[in-house]
Amino acid sequence: MAAKTLKINGTMISAREGESILEAARDSGVSIPTLCHLDGLSDVGACRLCIVDVGGRLRPACTTAVAEGMDIQTNTEQLRAYRRQIVELLFAERGHVCAVCVASGHCELQNLAVSLGMDHVRYDYLAPTCTVDISHQRFGIDHNRCVLCTRCVRACDEVEGVHTWDISGRGTSARIISDLNQPWGDAESCTSCGKCLLACPTGALFQRGSTVAEMEHASGRIAVIVESRRVRG
């Protein structure tokens, strides 16, 4: 495969053809914040946190392929400001109360807020009504914590091959649903494999019985499953 030469933050690097900017940056030690991206799953370019400046235009690093001669900036003042605004918008959208969250201390959203220097949220808290569904024997879903990244939807569809999860509605009324918007425990298609829990970046999907700060998502395991499946052919 042909190599592409490009510049990231002023440094020349070479990348494989067809690789995303995100992969190329990580290979060369540059980290770019992400939320809807998860290694092993397809990319949707939805959270917009990985936007980078490509020759003056903003592009999502996860879905933009490298090209010869690209001049990429990953951490300009403008990008940092936009990323912080995006994370603030998420915190304002639903009830992300870290103090009483099962994933506190192990949460990608919480960590993003820290790394982007978010000391407060400048927007109105929308405070929507969100349910907590603990009808499943082992797992629960707290919609207050959901950021609609669709990692669970993709893990279920692409890795488990079931597609129990999808999204209903649109805009801020969108909600993750199981089967026909039934309680998770009644969703016949669910195999209770728990891959959605692995994929979830926040405290939205959790093991029942876990209390504050107890829920750790081993999201890296999704990539391991996918990679070993690929190697085995």
């Binding site: 009830g95 870290c98 103090a99 220097g117 978010m118 400048r122 808290y125």
Partner: protein, 184 residues
């Protein structure tokens, strides 16, 4: 140290659990150092009824949840040079704001005291004695300008100390890294 004039410090307890004040007290012996450099002119741990004028630094714990909070916070802002939102309730609304999805104050009280409480329950209403709830709990900065934010539920004592040390030394407190910023 003694030749520098003491700064006037106030701490305020609004819609919160007082955990942030507990965390402040967790500073243990450093409180003695602090006492040498500040005059505590208003605080739930000091018996002072009226928020004084000319306060240099006010640490505010808790969200704005009632008409009383609303009145106090405006006084605090008017009478203080620097105002710090201390802890997640002040900064985000946090647990205090968990009631917001239930709707306006009347609906909320109905659900808490009657629907999910005692069906014969009575909604407390003693104007002038029991503060009247606001329809929506909001963070402090939604009502008045805030100079610094110190997240945490509660903010760990070293985090409070780092902020106070910076302010006492006339520096801008750093607002970065998990040590200073993590919510929860």
């Amino acid at each position: 140290m003694s030749d520098t004039p003491k700064i006037k410090l106030a701490t305020v307890w609004l819609g919160g659990c007082s955990g942030c004040h507990m965390s402040l007290l967790d500073l243990d012996e450093w409180l003695i150092d602090l006492a040498a450099r500040v005059d505590l002119v208003y605080s739930p741990i000091a018996d002072i009824k009226v928020f004084p004028e000319g306060v240099d630094l006010a640490l505010v714990e808790g969200a704005i949840a009632s008409d009383e909070h609303m009145e106090i916070i405006h006084t605090v802002r008017r009478n203080s040079t620097l105002l710090v939102s201390l802890g997640d309730c002040a900064v985000t609304g946090n647990v205090t704001a968990l009631r917001n999805p239930l709707g306006e104050a009347g609906l909320t009280l109905q659900q808490i005291y009657v629907d999910h409480g005692d069906p014969r329950g009575i909604i407390p209403a003693e104007p002038g004695i029991v503060p009247v709830l606001l329809d929506k709990v909001v963070p402090v900065h939604a009502v008045v300008a805030v100079d610094y934010f110190l997240p945490g539920c509660p903010p760990p004592a070293p985090r409070i100390r780092a902020l106070l040390e910076a302010l006492l030394a006339g520096r801008i407190p750093t607002a970065e890294g998990a040590k200073m910023l993590r919510f929860g």
